[in-house]
């Protein structure tokens, strides 16, 4: 007997619908000229899609909280790498 919850198909369908909507939204946003906000919007939508996949398709919403630590750890550490490297690159005095 496993500890897995059985997620109802209608939840999967709703998540899939949301993912498709987000995909269309990110395409549409690309046609707008919003300067730096374009990348903010497209990355926010990407994060939203990723969260939907993680929470529902990957069942993290239904599993123990310990997993969250390792879900977040990879991205958090990547943020350290990118953040401090950018901190160098953007503050060089040429």
């Amino acid at each position: 007997m496993t500890s897995s919850t059985i997620v109802p198909v209608r939840v999967y369908a709703a998540v899939y619908g949301a993912l498709m909507v987000l995909l269309l939204a990110t395409c549409a946003a690309d046609f707008l000229s919003l300067g730096v906000f374009n990348v903010v919007i497209s990355l926010t939508i990407a994060v939203a899609k990723a969260l939907l996949v993680i929470l529902f398709f990957m069942h993290v919403r239904y599993k123990e909280h310990l997993l969250w630590v390792y879900v977040v750890a990879g991205f958090f550490w990547l943020a350290i790498l990118i953040g401090l490297s950018l901190g160098d690159v953007l503050t060089r005095v040429h």
């Binding site: 310990l66 550490w77 401090l84 490297s85 690159v89 503050t91 005095v93």
Partner: protein, 548 residues
């Protein structure tokens, strides 16, 4: 930690158990296809010992060269190859795997009351990945070498070097996955397979150290893997992300490389700190002082250690503001290490201290690591680093940590748990003699290098101005003493396998689940999984030494 129905200890002289993990099955296949974490640990022991002596041989050669100011023993190209292969071998094929893959593999399941690691077959593949990576490195060593330094800086490594860079990075890449799988295995095992009653704060501090090390292993090593891959790709396709001709930034390589390689030094030293916590308590017959502080300091080192890598790049062209931030953060990372040193010292205070071999190595660790750590603060100070970067001051600093620290901790652990792993005791007199020789040889080798660096002798140079000769001769003399010191254990440990006194389950009268089963242990570790009812290091209050 023993419950009422633990097996009674035998009376009279200790006997080897009739069946244990070493004699349960004989034959090459039973070793090469084993999933027993204890057998895998011993195979790693053989492998890392081989690489230790190969890396040492390279060092012997360049220390010989450095006896005289002119470059007269080997050519400059050969000299570059010698220090490069010394660094690659020692870092990735000895230090990184040493404690985790040998002592960690052997002890983690035993210390937490489990029958094996979470993923035994993954553990075996970890060993084979290490062997395959090692083979690549051996091929590089013996067919023409590597001359980029263990740091592979671009654009030299990616565009101009004429040595076997691709083979070298391939070997390291593969060995990197060995590390990752080991760390993964430990994380899952420690989270999920602790015996009943063994809460996190009852765990031995060695387990906390291994856990923190494993977090670093899994988060840092992949970045090394992709970075070395990119160097290889650039060599093959003659275009890549570090290529300045298309806008590439050589500093990007350094950021990516040191993002791994700084935490890597904590991979190398944290497990040794774990060993020291175990050994100091046993040979002081006392509970550790500040258990929670030591446990949390291991995690703090693991986390803060990821925030400091730019201190390797102060003079590389990195922004001065980034330099300042990295400098401040590097000061911060010293704090948890200092916490440990204070706690170990407080543990010794009013303890019933005895000086068996493992204790000598651990005491040596505390002193030498302190010197290494303090000199690290010198280097973290931007203004000082500008003068001593890329000099022998840096070399002395990291050897105090890596050899005076990490290797001493490894030797302490090997000598402490040898009776558990083999069922035999080595002659403690020889052990103490070797420890003393190592301590003297080590300081004679590396202390002069602090002075050399301060006086301005650059690293990675095969010739030097004559005024540096006396200190170099001292250093080489020390290295030859150090070599004798390291060869002695090889002899007496091997001797002990056949002729050593039989150890019994707990020759040190230490506390810990691993001491409550036979020496050597049975294949599945415990007759019955124990239930834990008390914290770690529950040494009795009355005075007694480890030998009664």
């Amino acid at each position: 930690m023993i419950t009422a129905d633990a097996p009674a200890l035998p009376t009279g002289a200790p006997q080897l158990p009739r069946e244990h993990f070493l004699n349960v099955e004989y034959g090459v296949k039973s070793w090469l296809l084993t999933t027993d974490h204890k057998r895998i640990a011993l195979m790693f022991l053989v492998a890392v010992t081989l690489f230790f002596f190969l890396g040492g041989a390279a060092a012997a050669l360049f220390r010989l060269e450095l006896l005289t100011p002119p470059g007269d023993l080997v050519s400059d190209h050969t000299y570059n190859k010698l220090f490069s292969i010394h660094g690659v071998t020692m870092v990735w094929f000895f230090l990184i795997p040493s404690i985790p893959a040998v002592l960690g593999n052997f002890l983690v399941p035993m210390m937490i009351g489990a029958r094996d690691l979470a993923f035994p077959r993954l553990n075996l593949s970890s060993f084979y990945l290490f062997v395959i990576g090692g083979l690549f490195t051996l091929v590089v060593m013996f067919t023409g070498g590597l001359d980029t330094g263990w740091t592979f800086y671009t654009p030299y490594s990616s565009m101009f070097a004429n040595t076997y860079v691709i083979a070298a990075v391939t070997g390291i890449f593969i060995a990197g996955f060995s590390s990752i799988f080991t760390g993964l295995n430990f994380i899952v095992t420690i989270h999920k397979m602790r015996a009943p009653g063994l809460t996190w704060f009852r765990l031995p501090l060695f387990i906390w150290a291994i856990y923190a090390t494993s977090v670093i292993l899994v988060l840092a090593t992949p970045v090394l893997a992709i970075t070395l891959t990119l160097v290889g790709v650039e060599r093959i396709f003659h275009v890549g992300i570090f290529d300045p001709a298309i806008g590439g930034d050589p500093l990007l390589f350094q950021h990516l490389f040191w993002f791994y390689s700084h935490p890597a030094v904590y991979i190398m030293v944290l497990p040794s700190m774990g060993v020291v916590s175990e050994v100091i308590t046993c040979f002081s017959r006392k509970r550790i002082f500040g258990y929670h502080f030591i446990a949390f300091s291991s995690l703090a080192i693991a986390v803060i250690g990821f925030l400091v890598w730019g201190h390797h790049m102060f003079v590389s062209g990195q922004s001065i503001y980034a330099g300042m931030v990295f400098s401040m953060l590097s000061f911060a990372v010293a704090i948890p290490s200092a916490v440990k040193v204070f706690n170990w010292t407080a543990t010794l205070y009013k303890g019933s201290v005895s000086f068996e071999t493992p204790m000598l190595y651990s005491l040596g660790f505390i002193g030498l690591f302190t010197i290494g750590g303090l000199t690290g603060l010198f280097l973290a100070t931007l203004g000082i680093d500008v003068h001593v970067h890329d000099t022998y001051f840096v070399i002395a600093h990291f050897h105090y940590i890596m050899v005076g620290g990490a290797v001493m901790g490894y030797m302490s652990g090997i000598h402490f748990w040898w009776p558990k792993m083999t069922g035999r005791m080595y002659p403690d007199g020889w052990g103490r003699l070797a420890a003393l020789i190592i301590f003297i040889g080590f300081n004679l080798t590396f202390f002069p290098q602090f002075i050399l660096g301060y006086l301005g002798m650059p690293r990675r140079y095969h010739s030097y101005p004559p005024e540096f000769q006396v200190l170099n001769v001292m250093s080489t003399a020390g290295a030859s003493i150090l070599a004798v010191g390291y060869l002695l254990p090889l002899v007496y440990m091997l001797w002990s396998l056949r002729y050593g006194r039989i150890a019994g389950p707990n020759p040190w009268r230490a506390k810990g689940l691993e001491w409550e089963t036979t020496s050597p242990p049975p294949t599945d570790n415990f007759e019955k999984i124990p239930t834990v009812t008390e914290g770690a290091y529950a040494y009795p209050e009355r005075k007694e030494t480890a030998h009664g």
